[in-house]
């Protein structure tokens, strides 16, 4: 077990309580489809994939349509703008898990040309003014590396209602 920390704590009543941390190393192959999607983000482009049978454009793209179980190969670029479908503002802090300090917002953005939404953080926004239907655009990192956080967050499009 890598980096397991065990503290034996003897309670006053004589009962032994073990405290441990189990760390299980792993890797995760994104697969060829997701890899191509991430390569697109590196170029500041967002790609989806269209199901030839269901006609749905899925973003992020996937290899198999969950409805008809068909193979998907039809790549389409979506965006660059999208619509906020729903959101929440997080008010409590969970430093081990959260990517940002509270309060922060995240939501689901459906890119123009896509039929499924992307979940992502929302930035550069008045959190009290967020509402469904708001037009949003992706803000990329200065130096994209080819992963999902190349999009730092989505922000409201200036002048849009």
């Amino acid at each position: 077990m890598e980096n397991e920390t065990i503290l034996e704590v003897r309670e006053k009543d004589g009962l032994l309580i073990l405290q441990g941390v189990i760390r299980v190393p792993y890797t995760w192959a994104a697969g060829a489809v997701a890899s191509r999607f991430y390569a697109g983000l590196r170029d500041r482009r967002i790609y989806g994939i269209r199901c030839p049978t269901c006609r749905l454009v899925m973003v992020p793209p996937k290899k198999t349509c969950h409805r008809c179980f068909g193979d998907l190969n039809d790549w389409v670029e979506v965006g660059p703008e999208g619509t906020l479908q729903t959101f929440t503002v997080v008010h409590y802090s969970e430093p081990e898990l959260h990517p940002l300090r509270a309060p922060f917002a995240y939501g689901i953005i459906k890119m123009d040309g896509a039929d499924t939404g992307m979940t992502h953080l929302i930035g550069e926004a008045d959190q009290r003014a967020l509402k469904e239907g708001l037009r949003m655009t992706a803000v990329f990192r200065d130096k994209p590396e080819g992963n999902y956080l190349d999009i730092r967050y989505f922000k409201p499009v200036k002048g849009a209602k």
Partner: protein, 384 residues
Amino acid sequence: MGTRTAIVGVGQTHHTSKRKDVNGQELISEAVKRALQDAALELKDIDAIVIGNMDHFEAINNVDCWSIDGSGAFMKPIMKVTTGGSTGGTLGSCAYYHVASGLFDVVMAIGWEKNSESDTQAAISTCADPIVERDFFGGAIGPNAAEYAMYMEQFGATQEDAALVAVRDHNNALRNPHAHLRKFITVEDVMKSPVLCWPIKLLDSCPRSDGACAVIYASETTAPKITPNPAWVHATAVSHDYVYFGDYDWEMMPTLRTTVDRVYGRAGITDPLKDVDVMELYLPFSTCGVVWMDHMHMCSLGDAPKLIRKGVFDMNGELPINPSGGVLSTNPIGATGLIRLGEAALQVMGRAGERQVGDVRTALATAFGSCYWFEATVLRSTKP
């Protein structure tokens, strides 16, 4: 007894050390599509799905939910089953229970693993008691090494006897296009390979594989419409012990004995050497291929090495074991037990290609996992 049930389709990926080109869902989908193709069925014909892999592997939980794209379970009843190394056997039992209950007509079992993305030993260790056993006895190799050390001392078996089993399984894999390790080896190669946990050496040991397998079960009325040669389930049995390696009866193997006694009894098998045509056994180490033969009633206690030296379990022997190459050649853990069932079914259906063993009327498949948990299934070409 419930509705009579048969295996009607089998699909598996090619198994290898690392599948970087696909993620877990995509790996699963390959096996599912091949099983559907094998049975000439469409996804809409599948009434329910059971899926499983190892706990704490791949850093993913709720495989029943996140794998939907690959399993095809969108809007279908799906449940996750996991019992450690025996998961694949349990998946088969669970699919069988679904159909035998009469509530579902066609059910698919899916087992999969990406061992390359997991720390096998670290994850497996979490099954052992955290205070007493986890640090040293919790991994996969230690208990089986201790088992064979005891057997050698008691009956005069040798490391070469185990090496003969390794040679048999590894070289059988040369006939199996799906197998992970496909390399001709000799007893000398095994004896020279690095010691992992004495007396178990590298070539006595199963690999860690990426792969998936799907097996389709159907009811008495539907199975004959799908294939003229279904593999009928005649008996299944499961025996689980509690989790404490220090208190296992290593000399009498009660879980293995109970499991095989149950399926032999239910299927009317009195002499397995004569009554069974082929076996696909979950032998994670070559040493198990020696010790466990005694407890499967192939011979008297301590006599297994004699049968092995005579080649009784070789491809051209009286009772071929692991024509697929077994676990020693292929081990995507959550799929491994299900591959045994799938391979046994292919033998009964006469569709095992180059690894087919003559005319198979009766086949037995087993699964093994965690702290000496055993599962077994008897399949036949005739209806029960």
